[in-house]
Amino acid sequence: MSCDLAIIGAGPAGMAAAVEAVDLGLSVAVIDENPAPGGQIFRGLEGAAGDAALGADYAAGLPLLRAFRALRIGYRPATTLWHLEPEEGVLSLLAAGTTSELTAGRVLLATGAQERPVPIPGWTLPGVMTAGAAQILLKTAGAVPKGRTVLAGQGPLLWLLAAQLARAGAPPALILETRPKGRLAEALRAGGLLAGAPLLAKGLALLAKTRRIPRLRAVTGLHAEGTGHVRRVLWDGGATECDTLLLHEGVVPATHIPLALGLEHDWDEAQRCWRPRVDAYGASSHPRVAVAGDGAGIGGWQAAVAAGRLAALDAARRVGRLTEAGFARRAGPLLATRRAALALRPFLDALYAPPGWVLAPPEDATLVCRCEEVTAGQVRAAARLGATGPNQLKAYCRAGMGPCQGRMCGATVAALIAEARGTTPEAVGTLRPRAPYKPLTVAELARTG
C-alpha cells in the first residue's frame, strides 16, 4: 500500500488536513489509535453531539467530522503507528493484533497533546485521575464520578470540566485553584486581549457558569491520601474528604514520536515544554515529515484546523499538485485564521503557567515515574552523582524505562535534573524514545497482514 500523504491522528488537525489534501487530489491515508475520529477534543462526538451537558463548543466539531467521514480515503481507526522509517517513508502499523506496512510520500504527524504530569504525593492512588480522563468518561461512556469530587489545578480544561460535570448532575464539591497570586497581572502584560476578545468572552462565560462551585485560590502543597484509594486531599492550611481527585495543569505537545524520529525540537519557555521545530506550514527538520496541531505547540482546535490545512497545501505543492500562486492564494486566509485563533495564547500561557512545585516536586518521597516507581529523591540523587540528562539517568535508575517509555515522567525528570545541577530544562534536554513507539508482542510481530 502506498499514498501521497499519510496522516497520523484523526483529531482536528488530522481531519482538516485529510479534507484539504483530498480536495487537492492527493491520495491520503489516516492512521488513528482511537476507534472513531475526533481526537481528544471531539472524542465520542458522533455519539454524544446532542448531549447538552457537553456544551455548544463540543458540537462545533460536527461539520469537520462529517466532512472527514464523507472522504473516500484509507481511514484506519484503532490502528497504532509503532515505527516510522522516514528515509523511505515506511510506516509500520498494528491493528487487531496484526502488523502491516504502508509507504507514504509525505507523513503528517497530527498526534495532538497530552496532559502535563501533576506529580504530587499520592497521585498514583486509585481515584486520582486527570481532568481529561473524567472528560473522556463523560464523552464516551456517559459516566460521572460518584461521591465527592475535588478538582485541583488550573487552566481552561479545568473550568470546562467543572461546568460539564455540573450540567451532567455531578458538580464537583470543591475546586482547588493552583494559579499563584500575581499571574493575572503578568498575563495582562502579555497582551492579546483585544484580538483574542471573542475567545476571552467565551472563557469568562465559562467561569460564570462555575461560580456556584466552592473554590480556594492560590493553593500550594497539594497532596492526596488514602489506603488503597484516595480518601482525602490536603493542601497548605487545609484538607477535605474526597472519593475522586481530578488533576489538571494544562496540556503539552505529545512529542514521543517526533523525538523518536530525531526531529529538531525547541524549548518553549512560555508553555514550559518542548515542541518540534516547524515552519509556517508544519514542515519539520526532516524533509518527509510535517507536524501540525497541538503536537507542534499548544494552540487549541481552531488553530489546529488551520495548521492541518496548511500542511496539506504544502504537501500538494511539493508534489506539483498546487502552483506557487495557487498555494499562496489558499494559504493566505488560513494563516490569518490561525493568527486570530492564537491571539489569546500569550495571555493564557502567562495566566496558567504551571507553578514550580508542579514541574519539579519538592518532596523527595514523591513518585515521579509511575511505571517504575522512581521518586523525586532518587532522580535528584542520580543527578548529583553525575546523571546529566534523562537518557544518562537510565544508568542510575529505571525512570523512563517502563511501558510508558517516559511519556509521563520525561518532563518531570528533566526539571529535577536541571534543578539539582543548577541548570535549565532546555540545557538538560529530552529523553530519546525508541521504536516500537508502543509495546507490541512477539506474536503480533510475527502476524503480518
Binding site: 486509585p126 473522556i136 456517559g142 464520578p145 448532575g169 511501558p403
Partner: protein, 121 residues
Amino acid sequence: MFALRPDRFRPASAAGGAGQRRGTPDARTGPTATVEVFVDGIPVRVPEGASAAAAVLLAGSPLIRETPVTGAPRLPYCLMGVCFDCLAEIDGIANRQACMVPAVPGMRIAPQRGARVAFRS
C-alpha cells in the same frame, strides 16, 4: 468510582441478558445502547463505545493492575493512552492498554496482578 448518568441510562435492574440493548433514544442525550462485559468475572453493562478501562471504573473495581515493583494498586489515570496505568488482561491477553480497547459484548477484563510480566501474549 464512576456511575452512568441517570439522565442518560436506565438503572441496571432494567437490563436484559448478554449482548446489546437499546434504551429509549433521546435526542438531547445521545445514544443509550449498552453492552455487557465481564470485569474480574462480574457482569457489568457499559455504553457502546466505552473502553475496557471505563468498564473497570464503572464496575467499581478497586484496581486494574498491581505495580510490578511494589504491588501497589492502580486504576486508569489518563484514559488517553499516555500513562499505561490501565494495563490489564483482556480476553486472556496480558499487558493490553485497556483505555485504548473498546468494550465489546462478552469481553473479559481481568486486573493484572503481581510480579513483572514480560511483554508477551
